[in-house]
């Protein structure tokens, strides 16, 4: 009995997820030929609520790309994505962790970061930002007057509308 309801649950889950995946995929299928540009894979992941690293994305892309054409076909995308879902490979990051991450960087516990400090971390550590990404982040989040990044204020913007 339990098994039946479990598999029934699984089927329902799959249809829902399938719709979701299909929706995300189609949003980027600009040529209407069931393919998307590999450059969009990251965006598709994020829109589905996953948080892969750049390395994760590269690995995924190399596995599903259509012979270096620069495009990924739905037929290869779907099984690979299903695997990602079932294995929960790129789980979402909880909001609280984001706050704590900022607090770690804010060594003096001032409640803000200076643009130079943030730039230092973002462009030198982890998977470094490009200059463009850095400039954009600073423009978006630096307080006009004080020229600081008040991360507590920034976080709600980053986490808005996450639920689909």
């Amino acid at each position: 009995m339990a098994e039946n309801s479990k598999s029934a649950e699984a089927t329902v889950l799959n249809t829902k997820i399938l719709k979701k995946l299909k929706g995300a995929f189609q949003a980027f299928d600009t040529k209407s030929d069931n393919t998307v540009d590999i450059k969009e894979i990251g965006t598709i992941f994020y829109s589905l609520g996953f948080f892969p690293t750049q390395a994760d994305l590269q690995k995924f892309t190399s596995e599903v790309e259509d012979e270096r054409s620069g495009y990924i076909h739905w037929d290869r995308f779907l099984p690979a994505m299903t695997k990602v879902l079932l294995e929960d490979k790129f789980p979402p990051i909880a909001d609280e962790l984001l706050l704590q991450a900022f607090e770690v960087l804010d060594i003096e516990k001032r409640g803000y970061l200076k643009p130079e400090e943030l730039t230092n971390y973002m462009t030198k550590e982890g998977e470094p930002f490009t200059q463009e990404e850095m400039d954009e982040m600073l423009t978006a989040f630096t307080d006009e007057e004080k020229k600081h990044i008040y991360y507590k204020d920034v976080i709600p913007h980053l986490t808005l509308e996450r639920k689909m």
Binding site: A27, S47, F50, Q54, F102
Partner: protein, 703 residues
């Protein structure tokens, strides 16, 4: 790194990577939002154009099918007679500016003719710095001189980049003066060393269309061999009725606006259709089709074919109304294969969807005319042969869009022109020995876009077109090597102040408001769709079902689930939506008979356009009699059943001062949609439901 509480010794490196991951996904999701926002604006923009075409078709249909004794026919002939071309001598008398005095207190620019460079530059400065209006005497004078000049120009301008001159080409400006000023600032004003081509759509939507025209015409007069203007689909007085230019002129020039508009009507019809550079690069507003023939176009009488008649496939002007109807009858059996009956059964037909039927016929006609021209022409004399195909050839030039697939199909989204593929480009370029097509007509986020193997370049010069931050503008420089060099920009001081995040949000809010209006306009269809999912009549639907239902009605191909939180605030905790409650979230400001409400709201733009067409002297008022007759027409077109009493009630409600005439603006005010719960953003949106908004921009703190 998984979820869960972090220990206190969390290294900075891991913190950094977490923030990076988070930021990147935020940027990606914002990009998605920007994309669908764009999609919303575009699909609604194009459906507005489609509605315009439907209107043309409808008017043409009426021409075909009303017997002489009907009241409606009087109305139509009244409309068309006013819009007809008269002899030039009569017009010159009407446009005489000589008795218009310029008062002493006028502090704006003074013009003398022939115009000098200093005066043209002075005009630009006056508009830029002091925001002054040019006095109507000078406007009329300038326009008259322009008209005289344009009459001498060929249909297709031919220019060259000799003497190492670079030619600057600009795309759509749409009344956005700051963009033109920005281009002049970056690139310099037109001069002997700096030739310019302006590729159409100078007017409508933006609020300074007349100033743009005056500047362009001034430079055209000063440098006739260095300034070239191509006609766009918005250089058309009927389109202007819907999209704001007519209103702008009437508001800025209260005394002489009507005259100015009539003169512009003639000027528009005399604008050249295209420009060819060095016999290698074709510049035109919309595009081409598989039947575009530059030779035919070069020989045609361009000024006598106008959009409204192009749509209804009228042959040649000047003709009286009677001969037009004779032409229709001659071709009736070809264009309308099924006889539509006498006047009596016409009333009963109000239940049929004429507009769709006409559209289908229109498509058939377009298809047929493309493929069967020889047959059609065989019935008519040879000299007319070319001009029969001329209307749709011009339509193609001004309305077409490129597509990625091969072939050539009617442009159903816009309702006019076609979609043409890379094979058509290839063939066309080879046939005419050209190497590049530069066109405009479509807004592009970067201000430009190449397609068809870089053989077609779309150029759009109105930045922030949909809203602040939505897109850049661009212009092209072409030297003797004919390699396009593109310069991008983004006007408006507001853009600098807004961060990227804010500008996306702002555009998105405008788009969502427009979308909410569209949803409201389709309320009954949506309710029907929801009920299909709600078999037990609980008044609730699941999120998924809500999304499916909405897409099935709206056909906008949008990620509705993602948009849901912005569109519906009454989602309850079980994840279902109370759809009746949803519609109560918005309401209209005035009370109009509820049974008419939704249909009227949906077609408010068309309604307004019809009113303005009927208002032939552009006074802003129409008589009660015309008002009633318009409703009768509309009731047929919109397949509404509307009784005479309902029309009378409506008229009485609207004619608040009981003077026997209706103020159009006041009437349209009834269709302003207000959101009970959310605060309306009053940005520079073109899609407002009411007409007075464009003129209220001055006092708007958000601008």
């Amino acid at each position: 790194v998984g979820s869960g509480k972090l220990g206190t010794s969390y290294p900075a490196k891991l913190a950094a990577i977490l923030i990076q991951r988070w930021y990147r996904q935020y940027v990606a999701r914002r990009e998605m939002r920007r994309r669908y926002t764009w999609h919303i604006f575009q699909s609604i923009e194009y459906s507005g154009e489609q509605a315009q075409i439907k209107l043309y078709n409808f008017l043409g249909y009426l021409m075909d099918n009303f017997t002489p004794s009907s009241n409606e026919r009087n109305l139509i002939s009244h409309i068309f007679r006013e819009n007809e071309v008269c002899r030039d001598a009569e017009w010159e008398r009407y446009f005489c500016y000589k008795n218009i005095e310029v008062p002493e207190i006028y502090s704006g620019p003074h013009l003398t003719f022939p115009l000098t460079v200093e005066e043209a530059v002075g005009l630009v400065e006056a508009f830029r710095n002091k925001k002054q209006q040019l006095h109507s005497r000078y406007v009329l004078q300038l326009l008259l001189e322009t008209w005289k000049l344009l009459r001498m120009l060929p249909n297709i301008n031919r220019i060259s980049t000799c003497h190492s001159k670079e030619i600057t080409i600009c795309g759509d400006l749409h009344g956005q003066l700051e963009d033109l000023l920005l281009i002049f600032y970056k690139n310099g004003m037109p001069s002997l060393e700096k030739p310019y081509v302006f590729n159409g759509d100078f007017v409508d939507r933006g609020r300074d269309s007349i100033e743009i025209l005056l500047i362009l015409f001034a430079f055209l007069l000063v440098y006739p061999s260095n300034v070239y203007l191509n006609r766009g689909n918005h250089e058309d007085h009927i389109v202007n009725l819907r999209y704001g230019f007519t209103k702008e002129v009437l508001n800025k020039y209260k005394m002489h606006g009507k005259r100015i508009l009539k003169l512009l009507q003639k000027i528009f019809s005399w604008l050249p259709l295209a420009t060819v550079i060095d016999q290698k690069v074709l510049v035109l507003h919309g595009g081409i089709s598989d039947s575009t023939d530059l030779g035919v176009l070069a020989r045609a009488d361009r000024h006598i074919v106008r959009n409204q008649h192009v749509m209804t496939k009228v042959v040649i002007f000047p003709l009286s109304l009677q001969s037009i109807s004779r032409v229709f009858q001659r071709r009736a059996s070809f264009t309308y294969p099924k006889p539509l009956g006498t006047r009596d059964c016409f009333q009963n037909r109000s239940l049929q969807d004429f507009s769709d039927r006409i559209r289908v016929n229109m498509e058939n006609q377009l298809e047929l005319s493309r493929r069967e021209e020889p047959t059609l022409n065989a019935q008519i004399n040879k000299p007319e042969q070319e001009s029969l195909s001329l209307p749709h050839q011009i339509l193609d030039l001004l309305w077409s869009d490129p597509m990625t697939q091969d072939g050539c199909i009617p442009n159903e989204v816009r309702g006019g022109g076609c979609y043409w593929g890379p094979d058509v480009t290839e063939d066309f370029l080879n046939r005419h020995n050209l190497q590049l097509i530069i066109r405009s007509h479509e807004c592009k986020q970067e201000g430009y876009e190449f397609c068809h193997n870089r053989k077609v370049l779309t150029l759009f010069s109105a930045s922030n077109y949909y809203d602040v931050g939505s897109n850049r503008g661009a212009y092209v420089k072409l030297g003797p090597d004919l390699v396009p060099y593109l310069i991008q920009y983004q006007a408006s001081s507001m853009t600098r102040e807004l961060t990227v995040r804010q500008s996306v949000g702002r555009t998105e809010r405008s788009a969502l408001r427009v979308l909410r209006e569209q949803l409201f306009a389709h309320k009954s269809d949506l309710l029907c769709a929801f009920r299909k999912f709600d078999s037990e009549n609980t008044g609730l639907v699941s999120l998924n079902d809500w999304a499916s239902a909405v897409e099935s009605v709206m056909h906008l191909d949008l990620p509705w689930r993602m948009l849901r939180s912005q569109l519906v605030t009454c989602k309850n905790s079980e994840g279902t939506i109370d759809y009746y409650e949803w519609f109560n979230e918005s309401q209209l400001s005035k009370h109009i008979d509820q049974s008419l409400l939704e249909t009227l709201y949906r077609h408010r733009s068309t309604l307004e356009t019809i009113f303005r067409i009927v208002d032939t002297d552009n006074s802003g008022f129409i008589s009660m009699q015309d008002f009633r007759q318009t409703w009768k027409l509309l009731s047929v077109y919109l397949k509404m059943e509307i009784t005479d009493e309902a029309i009378s009630d409506l008229a009485i409600t609207i004619d608040s001062n009981h003077d026997g005439s209706i103020d159009i603006d006041e009437f349209m005010e009834a269709f302003r949609l207000t959101d009970k719960k959310s605060r309306l953003e009053r940005g520079r949106s073109m899609f407002m439901g009411t007409t007075s908004d464009l003129t209220k921009l001055e006092g708007d703190p958000n601008i």
